[in-house]
Subunit: 136 residues, 4 copies
């Protein structure tokens, strides 16, 4: 698990967009990853709240890394597709995105993702995603 954590931390650091969004990789567990993102005017939609694209981006990453925790060494993960419902306006000072593995197969891993407000009380968005393992 330590090896996988390091691999994911390194991969996260290599993502230019995560730096741009100022997103943090907060937790990496078996089949579960948490990424958070503090509010900034650089991340808003036209009404001044978090843009849905920020929520989609960090929860996609959290789902992908959650899938990766259950994949063999020497593999990478790619997003095949995802679907996301936006349920509440993202009016909060921090987005908390939790990705979890629903089913881990040899080729495909199915994940679900939850985006909460800063108190983890309000479910802002819900994702269902398909990830694919890449041998390298």
């Amino acid at each position: 698990m330590e090896k996988i954590k390091e691999k994911i931390q390194q991969s996260f650091k290599n993502q230019g967009l995560m730096k741009t969004l100022n997103a943090q990789l907060d937790e990496v567990e078996n089949g579960r990853v948490k990424i958070t993102c503090a509010f900034s005017e650089a991340l808003t939609q036209q009404h001044g709240f978090f843009h849905a694209g920020v929520a989609a981006t960090i929860i996609d990453s959290a789902c992908g890394y959650a899938a990766l925790t259950l994949m063999p060494e020497n593999t990478e993960v790619l997003t095949v597709e995802f679907k996301i419902n936006f349920m509440k306006p993202a009016k909060t000072d921090k987005l908390i995105a939790v990705g979890k593995v629903l089913n881990s197969g040899k080729t495909l891993t199915i994940c679900e993702g939850f985006v909460y407000d800063s108190k983890e009380e309000k479910l802002i968005a819900k994702m269902q995603a398909t990830m694919i393992v890449i041998q390298y």
Copy 2:
């Protein structure tokens, strides 16, 4: 149509995230909107290509504004949900996102979105989205 164009241009300018991504609102037509985004290291995933989140964000915006072109004055649009398939690696110097209305109803508008490479030859991602009108 001129009024709607101005409204959409103003809304686009108010999106902090679009500035952060350096995205451009290129075309606004009835039921069709194009948004583009030039490559930068600030927008990458771990392998140095465009992050899928950038593609998802600009095509979601293009679909939303495409829906808005067919909605009454004094309304706004919100994304209910979207689903996106990533089909090719986003190795290109510019993403071109085209959102189109498939069906415009009184409450809901169904859109599809296409993300192409800079030559508009390669279909990188495809979205299907549900938008809702908001009276204000």
Copy 3:
């Protein structure tokens, strides 16, 4: 709740397709509905297991009715869209579909659906759906 149960039972009986599939409305609770369907050769795909379309149909109905339990009287529910992942082959003598409300709004209700094998041990499919209230 009794009134809503009766309304849902009546609606279920009026669905010709539920008779054709020999599906049963097993449980109706606040925000949660269970529909089951016993195996028959009439419901198979080319390898002799349950057709994915049967799973999709009964879990869509379970999600729709789950949404309806939280809607006002004198309303109906329609499926706006759903997304479903098929995770395991549907090799079982009975499909058990459980639909649950994730978020109940004035116009839209977001649901998630689970399709299990007859022992409710194996998660065969997972749905995420958007429902709309219809005033009549």
Copy 4:
């Protein structure tokens, strides 16, 4: 192409559910398959129109077979997931489902599906689906 047509026709005949729905395999071309289904009271929802599950089932099959036309011999196709929007009430005497390949990869094929009324004028539903090749 003739070999693939025969393989698909045989597979279609082996689907018990297609017989139950009285669905017809109407056209098989490279990357495009049409399946139709005549109205019957056995296929209705509570208001007496086609059940959404019938539309979802036949367009899923059409997309799967469309994917199969572009896959190597000695392979089969499975639905990984699909997302479908229902745009108009399915008030028609025949559903016409057309599945098309959007992108055909080595492992995954992305398809889109269109469900029309009997005149092929009204777009009733739209699907976006991910299919996987199975070696046997």
